[in-house]
């Protein structure tokens, strides 16, 4: 056992507070709409019920399913009142997507909380909204290595990749359940029994494999491997723009050649061109222009040009 895992052990011990044994255990499951957040939390809730606990599982439907952020609170124990987990109170945070995991980190118990994450990145169009030269992605910048510096119990794996290697990328959620199973004291057989009830009958075998794969991965876990071991993705956060030397200046419109066809106005993705009172194309919102050169390319009369700066 190396130094880092030793540290995990010590900090995890702090989780057991003798005065709060009656306090429910809080597991927060998060991800993007359509990933299976509700399925994962339903499996956990069913298992907790089977183990004789009172359990509450709370989610919000509606707008969230349209590619938005989705979360599900699972609380179990002898007596559970509130259906939701307060900030800083989650014993375990299970993230099906990297940036979603980061969003909910403030809900994790400081010091002792366990963060289990799929390093898979689902980049929303919103993060790619800037068409300008040299634009930087709006996707979360923090890398797995940086987060494991902040959180002592950080278990991040490329579950989709590992499940695909087993033969079905869709079993990634079960792999994460395998990882989660090591943080909660329920027999592995009971986990398998409950999971079997929730997955399609034909996929039970592969899901069982994925479950043990997830479990084994945590057992064998060694933070030192983070630097690029098998099955672990260490992607740089977001996309890093490569500096490009070519610089353009704003479109120049040769009025005499413009025949008012309106093509540039209609196609400009930023809507910064319009026809003036003489029906001649004009750059009316130069501050919005991203130098994409669509107008130059589409003008049938070569009336628009973007030139090199030098």
């Amino acid at each position: 056992m190396n130094d880092s895992t030793q540290m995990n052990l010590e900090s995890a011990q702090a989780m057991v507070n003798p005065q709060s044994v009656k306090t429910p255990v809080n597991v927060l499951v998060v991800g993007v709409g359509g990933q299976g957040v509700i399925m994962v939390s339903k499996v956990l809730a069913a298992l907790c019920q089977q183990q004789g606990f009172q359990v509450k599982q709370s989610e919000v439907h509606g707008m969230a399913k349209r590619g938005g952020s989705v979360f599900s609170h699972v609380r179990f124990g002898e007596q559970v009142y509130s259906p939701t987990i307060p900030m800083g109170q989650a014993d375990v945070l299970v993230a099906l997507e990297w940036a979603e995991g980061l969003r909910w980190l403030p809900y994790l118990k400081p010091e002792t909380g366990i963060f289990i994450a799929d390093t898979q990145q689902i980049v929303p169009p919103f993060a790619c909204r800037d068409r300008k030269h040299g634009a930087v992605s709006g996707y979360a910048k923090e890398s797995v290595a940086e987060i494991s510096e902040l959180i002592s119990n950080c278990f991040a794996a490329d579950a989709g990749f590992m499940a695909a290697e087993l033969g079905n990328a869709k079993a990634a959620n079960t792999l994460l359940l395998g990882m989660l199973s090591t943080a909660l004291d329920f027999p592995a057989d009971d986990w398998c029994e409950v999971i079997s009830q929730f997955v399609p009958p034909k996929t039970v075998d592969i899901n069982m494999q994925a479950f043990s794969q997830g479990r084994d991965w945590v057992e064998r876990y060694d933070p030192a491997v983070l630097k690029g071991g098998k099955g672990i993705a260490v992607k740089p956060g977001g996309l890093v723009p490569i500096p490009h030397e070519v610089q353009f200046v704003l479109p120049v419109i040769t009025e005499a050649w413009c025949k008012s066809c309106d093509i540039c106005v209609k196609f400009c993705p930023e809507r910064c061109l319009s026809l003036n009172e003489n029906r001649i194309a004009e750059l009316t919102k130069p501050e919005l222009c991203t130098l994409c050169r669509i107008c130059e390319r589409l003008c049938p009369d070569f009336a628009i040009s973007l030139n090199y700066k030098n």
Partner: protein, 616 residues
């Protein structure tokens, strides 16, 4: 056993040992599922609703019970649904309608009269509020409606109570000759907890009760009924004095907390030692019981989500209570919010501040799906520089970047009449357009369309027909040709309907043809008078999830113009390559459904089907 499990062992095992002793044959149920179960057990015979988050699953679950047990339907709107349920009650059988909070606004006209009439067979309204506005246009408090309609309002806390209270509501309705409101909230409706279920009790229909003085609300009858209502309020109040719905949980006499609904769970969580009076009803209140409770403690605090409904009633009774001075009047409650309130009251020590991990979360707003047929209309409307009145549905998302093409959105069916007003005001220089979905059109869009024709407004109406009620998760409606139980039924012919209304310019085209949508909208907006353009394409998610051959970006042709990004398609994002410093794009093949819209807007023939050997 893993290291972590070993360490957690004491925690889990203690909880398990005490938990197992109580093991019962319980079923995990969402609040809405439990409400449906309660209604079924109570012997409901007629159930009707229009879908609306967070209430939709109530009717969906009722439809899972045999057709021989009850008639369950999607109605065209909430007023129709309530009127159908009222009909069931007139006919002498137990009836139910469910809706979201704003649905009660639509149904309120009937409720205000029906409360005078009372019931023959029981009449229960389940109304789900949305504190925190997770998926609504406002966060109005239904309990005030209960007071206005002098209709009792029951407020369950968890799924078990949701089942029990719904069942009880049917009995109370018949016992006191009144409609009864069961009020839920998003948190209750969408939280799963363990429930003990019972069996269905068949209640024999009473048959129609011929009593015109009660059933026909003309002024002479209504005046007498109003008097009966006040007597009913008194009797209900008396009943609640000794009802199980009111639970006194004794504790310290320093402070007494009066709470209800999900707020109760947060109170128990943060302040377990306090004296609590848990109310299962918010109108009418058991005054004597409350007086007794208030005199037993030194300080009284009311903890309730949204409006100070209980607090104000208590103040009228003459009690010195605190409530909204400590807890917010807007938003959803949580353990943190309730704790903050008690801290502000000086009753709990300040929470020890811990260092939160400081990471700025990435924005991930909800989006129209990859291949959503609504996208083209808004691309074209933006290019046409139109003034657009929107409506309620998924397409409200077109109000934000990148489509950003909707100027107003008020309530179900408002778009057409809003556009009529904008056009008739005579000040708008842009083309005035209303956009409305198929289900919303049938809900409340037909009278305003008649009105627009009748008053000769110069507007264009875009009927976004995606053949389903998409926003709430894919429910059938009269335009789909199927009912709630999936049976074939008459299918509305929109063109014939709109023609009969008197619209002269009607055209129906494929939503996926970007050029045709643009051209047709240009024609429609140039037409003087009411023009209706029907954009026809099924929703990509419901009733079946569509998946066609995916498209890909030819990296060598991509010039990083990102014109395709204007669609806001979740399948398109940046690739790792650059073109002259601009990010090239890529398409996630798993997410792409092959609608081809990005290929239609691309400027360099850069987007092609993955399997495009023939096209090259």
């Amino acid at each position: 056993m893993s290291q972590l499990a070993e360490l957690n062992k004491p925690l889990s095992q203690t909880a398990k040992a005490s938990g197992q002793a109580k093991q019962q044959p319980l079923r995990p149920m969402m609040g809405n599922e439990a409400i449906a179960r309660g209604a079924w057990e109570a012997g409901v015979k007629v159930a009707a609703a229009y879908p609306g988050t967070p209430s939709t699953e109530i009717m969906e679950n009722l439809a899972k019970y045999p057709a021989a047990d009850l008639h369950a339907e999607w109605s065209t709107n909430e007023k129709v649904a309530l009127d159908v349920a009222i009909g069931g009650s007139f006919a002498g059988v137990r009836s139910l309608t469910s809706m979201k909070h704003v649905g009660l606004n639509v149904a309120s006209d009937s409720l205000m009269s029906q409360t005078y009439i009372g019931v023959n067979g029981a009449l229960v309204l389940v109304v789900c509020d949305d504190p925190g506005i997770h998926s609504s246009q406002n966060e109005q408090d239904t309990r005030i409606f209960g007071q206005l309609a002098m209709t009792p309002v029951l407020e369950p806390t968890d799924a078990q109570e949701a089942l029990d209270f719904t069942k009880l509501a049917f009995d109370l309705s018949e016992q006191f000759d009144t409609p009864v409101i069961v009020r839920s909230t998003t948190r209750l409706s969408h939280t799963r907890s363990l429930v003990k279920t019972g069996e269905r009790v068949e209640v024999r229909g009473k048959g129609f009760l011929e009593e015109p003085k009660k059933n026909v609300m003309i002024p002479g009858h209504a005046r007498l009924r109003h008097r009966a209502l006040m007597e009913r309020e008194r009797l209900l109040q008396e009943y609640f004095e000794n009802s199980d719905l009111i639970r006194w949980e004794p504790g310290s006499d320093e402070v007494g907390i009066i709470t209800l609904s999900t707020a109760y769970t947060y109170v128990k969580e943060v302040f377990p030692e306090a004296s609590v009076l848990k109310l299962g009803v918010s109108y009418p209140l058991p005054e004597a019981k409350i007086r007794e409770f208030c005199s037993s403690v030194k300080r009284i605090i009311v903890v309730e989500e949204l409006e100070p409904v209980i607090e104000n009633q208590l103040k009228v009774m003459g009690h010195r209570v605190e409530g909204k001075s400590l807890f917010p009047r807007e938003g959803e409650f949580s353990t943190e919010v309730v704790r903050d309130g008690f801290e502000a009251a000086g009753l709990l020590p300040p929470t020890p501040k811990f260092e939160l991990i400081d990471i700025e979360p990435m924005a991930r707003p909800p989006l129209l799906c990859a291949g959503c047929p609504h996208t083209t209309a808004y691309m074209a409307l933006r290019a046409l520089n139109s003034r657009v009145s929107g409506d309620i549905g998924c397409y409200t998302l077109a109000a934000v970047e990148p489509l950003k093409a909707i100027d107003t959105s008020v309530a179900m069916g408002s778009s057409i009449a809003n556009a009529t007003g904008i056009a008739l005001a005579g000040t708008e220089t842009r083309p005035v357009v209303a956009t409305i979905g198929d289900s919303t059109f049938l809900h409340a869009g037909i009278p305003p369309l008649i009105n627009a024709v009748y008053n000769n407004a110069n507007i264009t109406v875009v009927l976004l027909d995606n053949h389903i009620t998409a926003m709430t998760g894919g429910q059938d409606h009269p335009g789909t040709g199927r009912n709630l139980r999936g049976q074939e039924t008459h299918k509305i012919d929109y063109e014939a309907l709109i023609k009969a209304i008197g619209v002269q310019w009607i055209k129906k085209i494929d939503s996926y043809n970007m050029g045709s949508v643009y051209q047709s909208l240009r024609e429609a907006t140039l037409y003087k008078g009411v023009a209706v353009l029907i954009l026809d394409r099924p929703c990509v998610l419901d009733p079946v999830k569509l998946k066609g051959p995916a498209f890909q970006v030819k990296a060598e042709s991509c010039t990083g113009c990102q014109a395709c990004m204007n669609l806001g398609c979740p399948a398109i994002s940046w690739s790792d390559e650059l073109y002259e410093g601009h990010h090239k794009v890529k398409i996630d093949e798993a997410a792409c459904i092959g609608c081809s819209l990005c290929a239609q807007v691309g400027s360099t023939n850069c987007i092609q089907p993955v399997d495009a050997g023939l096209l090259q």
